[in-house]
Symmetry: C2
Subunit: 189 residues, 2 copies
């Protein structure tokens, strides 16, 4: 009844769409200019609306950043879950995902890094920011129950992304897959 009530009210639906539009505009800004580029004015302009709207839906700048981090993290969560739900080698999928940081996924990976770094100074963001690592750990657990190896694999994925983003490090999926395998299994099966 209450749940039905909520979806029926067209205003709320429109509000949700507007909210999503604003979050998308925020992410576009982060990807293009970095987290520091996010202001109510830049987001409003990107979304083609007034700042009053961004303020109506997100009372503070912080709210915008939190929503952006949540959104980008959701994206990664879906990606990794899909890797786990397939018959293919999940480590191979993960290697490809990491390798994307050098190409089509670079902006998104950098946005994730910049936004998640905010979590270090904001304990409230920790649960969101940790989800990437939790997701990778969960994926690793489908192939190993060695907790140390799993922990190392999670750290390795983080570190490889860092190298790619900050160093233009080599991003060959096969090479990355080998490193992941070595770390999780001791050899590289």
């Amino acid at each position: 009844m209450a749940a039905e009530q909520e979806t029926v009210d067209g205003r709320r639906l429109r509000g949700e769409r507007r909210r999503a539009q604003i979050i998308e505009a925020t992410l576009a800004i982060v990807r293009r200019d970095g987290a520091t580029g996010v202001t109510h004015r830049t987001v409003a302009k990107e979304a083609g609306i007034t700042t009053s709207l961004t303020l109506y839906y997100f009372a503070t700048l912080d709210d915008l950043l939190v929503a952006a981090l949540t959104s980008v993290t959701d994206t990664y969560t879906h990606r990794i879950r899909r890797l786990m739900d397939t018959d293919e080698d999940p480590l191979d999928g993960l290697a490809h995902l990491i390798a994307e940081s050098a190409g089509p996924g670079r902006e998104r990976a950098l946005a994730e890094r910049e936004l998640s770094t905010l979590a270090a100074r904001r304990p409230a963001l920790r649960p969101i920011a940790r989800r990437w690592r939790d997701n990778v750990a969960e994926l690793a657990r489908t192939r190993s129950d060695d907790e140390d190896a799993i922990e190392a694999l999670v750290a390795l994925t983080d570190g490889l992304c860092t190298a790619i983003l900050l160093d233009d490090h080599e991003a060959d999926p096969d090479h990355i897959r080998a490193l992941l395998g070595k770390t999780l299994f001791g050899d590289a099966p």
Copy 2:
């Protein structure tokens, strides 16, 4: 002669001292409030001087950030070099350094992360930002010539620091040492 000329001019010496003071104040701001807290005014206030002075020595905000990144990277470089110059187990020293990210070294580690992340959008900063990874790789090379293992170890150190900073992850030096050893040698010697 020219070098001698430079150190004799008392004005230049004072300038260098002033410059170092400003960089130190910048780092204090980064550690306390993050890279976004760095403005000419906040730095000037922290150093007890006027913004005209910060501007005299660092024409742009960017110059300040670059100097701060260089400084914090120098600190880490010295630390790691010292680990290599000792008879002790360098991996053990590295593990302790990483573990510091959970305690006394947390602010510095976070500052390094925030500043080095700037390098992703500024190719000119890459050489500076990569030095941490180069240093760790060099340390690893004193113990292994397996380039894949070395690359994995570097990424692992990055990832472990991330987990500590963003997640309040466990930071037991012995545990970290074991992970480092496993990654570099296949076992944990």
